[in-house]
């Protein structure tokens, strides 16, 4: 038997959040945590959580699993279980809407701030803006982010200043466009990150790297942005490093 402790909170009926324990027979197969939640939902339909693709692509089911952020759909219960217990909480630092569902407005506001789209003022070519294979290689390890918010919500700097510190997920995306050879707004992008909070609040504790379900390295991207802000490093000097590629 396993105990699954789930953070419960319904603002319409609960004054305070509480933990509810569900005891169930340990599944014979090493199923994913999301499947376990689906089994529990059949017992108690009031449990709320986000889910969609069930294969680690949509980033909907980010949650705090035994104290570490991760995606329920790609976390096997054998990996999550500790002393026959699994503790499930919502992503830390964001307001809870209900149970494991958090309000991601602040997270998306920071994503919006970095202008996550290609900006190029030159005349568009007839077909498409081309890149050399070497230029394309610079984007590896950056574009794969699925915006699950596991990294940003594991970052204490983002907990304390979610309105000012951009956070690892959005900074990874900021660097994704800074490093893109087709984007011509590098100076403006860096200007927008030059205040004491947006980037400099990252103290490199690397929680983001530790929890990223896609094995990305936001800390390296942040380091590159800092390096560009602090020096006169030009875009063409960006190299593909082992940390990102």
């Amino acid at each position: 038997m396993i105990d699954v402790n789930i953070y419960r909170y319904n603002p319409e009926t609960d004054k305070f959040p509480y933990t509810q324990t569900y005891t169930l027979k340990k599944p014979e197969k090493d199923i994913m945590l999301l499947e376990l939640l689906n089994i529990l939902k059949e017992q108690d339909s009031s449990i709320s959580y986000r889910r969609s693709c069930r294969e680690g692509v949509c980033g909907s089911d980010g949650m705090n699993i035994n104290g570490k952020n991760g995606l329920a759909c790609i976390t096997p219960i054998s990996q999550a279980i500790k002393n026959n217990k699994i503790e499930l909480r919502p992503l830390p630092g964001l307001p809870v809407i209900r149970d494991l569902v958090v309000d991601m407005t602040e997270f998306y506001a920071q994503y919006d701030k970095i202008k996550p789209f290609l900006q190029n003022e030159t005349e568009p070519p007839a077909q498409e803006r081309l890149q050399s294979p070497a230029e394309r290689d610079k984007l590896d390890g950056l574009y794969e982010c699925i915006l699950c918010a596991c990294c940003s919500t594991s970052c204490p700097s983002f907990w304390w200043n979610p309105d000012k510190f951009v956070g690892p997920a959005a900074l990874l995306q900021a660097y994704r466009f800074i490093a893109d050879s087709r984007d011509t707004k590098t100076a403006e992008r860096l200007e927008g990150l030059s205040d004491p909070f947006s980037v400099y609040r990252c103290h490199g504790i690397m929680n983001c790297v530790n929890v990223c379900p896609k094995d990305l390295n936001p800390n390296h991207a942040i380091g590159e942005i800092k390096s560009m802000l602090l020096s006169d490093k030009k875009k063409e000097n960006i190299i593909v490093s082992d940390g990102v590629s």
Binding site: W160, P162, S194, D195, P196, Y200, K226, L229, L230
Partner: protein, 116 residues
């Protein structure tokens, strides 16, 4: 220079200076020159130590300002008690002014001792 960059450089370069100044102090002790007469009589020591105390206060304030803007905010104090959240900005200003005055007091006091 942008404020973020200025603070970053201030903290790093001042830390390097602290290390160099520490080396200078060790050198004084090792060469058996460590005495109150030497410390108040050497122009080099006076200049280097004055610069040290000014930089130390600036370095410390940059760190304390970071702590204040992390932990003394409406959001973080709200976790402790909602009533504290109401006074978060005021508490942070008091915190910052306290350390500004403490820093200025230490700098002025030290400069008076060493240069008078």
């Amino acid at each position: 220079m942008k404020l973020g960059k200025l603070i970053w450089y201030l903290q790093r370069y001042s830390a390097i200076y602290f290390l160099l100044f520490l080396g200078y102090l060790v050198l004084i002790v090792l060469t058996d020159r460590f005495s109150f007469q030497f410390l108040t009589g050497s122009l080099t020591f006076k200049l280097l130590s004055s610069f040290f105390i000014i930089l130390a206060c600036m370095h410390a304030f940059a760190g304390l300002w970071t702590i204040g803007t992390d932990y003394l905010t409406k959001r973080t104090l709200g976790f402790v008690a909602p009533v504290l959240s109401t006074y978060a900005n005021l508490l942070r200003k008091i915190f910052e002014f306290f350390f500004i005055f403490l820093g200025l007091f230490l700098v002025i006091y030290y400069l008076l001792i060493i240069w008078s």
